[in-house]
Symmetry: C2
Subunit: 236 residues, 2 copies
């Protein structure tokens, strides 16, 4: 398989990456078409996985009773975590809309099963977390595929995993990695919500790249790329 990408195909990937959003407040009630949902789940299933262990499972949820219980866990955790931050940030934090559990037509819990094809998985004996990392790659595949299908995805991480395990009957050894809200949206925000609202700024690319060793921002052998990453590389 040596086929190159056309400019438009390549653009499709970059467009998905740069216009993908964590969606909380723009869901509409229109159901997700089963063909679309299947395609984006299949995209997730084709993520890289350590030792080809494919250690993920996807639990599709639309039962209102389940959603209600998950939403209760969110509210409890949000209240608890708000105690960790001082005013005026606390009030700002509490004013944010941070989930769309009830409004989104489909909820999806993505889980990690360390026992799949185990105990010996190639590449997992030195870095045991590598299995979890594979599941995250699957989530990002799903997120990008959803964006091209105009489906919004929101990741709710203000939750108790212990509650989630009870609500979804997860066995002890299964780790919930993500609880996602999926649905059609009326729009995708031009920027991440927390950037728009001035919570935190977007870091500059040049500030997250080092050369050869930690914290080295200058290196003669990388002179040209040092210049390029100082320019604004944002997708138009």
């Amino acid at each position: 398989m040596t086929d190159k990408f056309t400019n438009e195909e390549k653009n499709g990937l970059y467009k998905a990456i740069h216009s993908r959003r964590d969606v909380r407040s723009h869901f509409i009630s229109k159901p997700i078409e089963d063909e679309i949902l299947s395609r984006i789940l299949n995209a997730a299933h084709h993520a890289p996985s350590v030792g080809f262990s494919q250690p993920w499972n996807f639990i599709l949820i639309k039962d209102p009773e389940t959603k209600k219980r998950v939403k209760e866990s969110f509210e409890k955790e949000r209240e608890r975590s708000s105690q960790l931050v001082e005013e005026p940030k606390k009030s700002k934090y509490l004013s944010f809309k941070l989930e769309g559990i009830l409004e989104s037509p489909v909820n999806l819990c993505v889980t990690y099963d360390p026992s799949k094809f185990g105990p010996f998985v190639i590449g997992r004996s030195s870095i045991p977390e590598a299995g979890l990392y594979s599941v995250c790659c699957a989530i990002q595949n799903l997120w990008l595929a959803a964006r091209t299908e105009n489906i919004g995805v929101g990741w709710v991480s203000i939750l108790s995993n212990e509650m989630l395990k009870k609500i979804l009957d997860l066995p002890d050894h299964i780790i919930p990695v993500a609880y996602l809200c999926l649905g059609h949206v009326d729009e995708f925000s031009s920027k991440p919500d927390l950037e728009k609202k001035g919570w935190l700024p977007r870091l500059e690319l040049k500030d997250v790249i080092y050369f050869e060793k930690w914290d080295k921002k200058e290196n003669f052998g990388w002179k040209n790329i040092q210049e390029i990453i100082k320019t604004n590389l944002d997708y138009p």
Copy 2:
């Protein structure tokens, strides 16, 4: 931003997902163009991150001395981990080419910095691992962007993170998440190496999807999609 994707753009994303490979043995020595490398690093930097914390750093490496030391760590860990598996699988495992550290023109260590914008990060107080998950999403963005640019990426997870921290001068609180090998390739394999070589089979999509609760493969409310995911959804 409500712009839809054209069919070709959408296809570009799915093509990247389904033709992306973990590359170990197809690197060629041609250097990576700085413009391409900048674009794929920028794609990584535009991943989702918990509380918009952007907790990643990217250390670009081409120093042969560094590569040599990382390769030594790989060899030691491979030897150690081979003791965990019985014959005949052990010999098979040892026969696999599992990294391209020296042959690939660029190595890249992707790290997680929990202190960035901390200690309070929205969404990280209930699930502390969420910061690590963000870094993995960035890695998958990079991997897909690289594929559209015809750059191969291989993730080496048979390594000692302790050694890596020493080699790259990482401070104590910084976690190395991935050590990647990047370069132009002579081809992308049609299937994952470990699938091709009969190490493990590709799971069927229907076997990783549950409905409403763990392990529930049948649910009347999800009847239509149950049928769809039984068919072969593989990208052509």
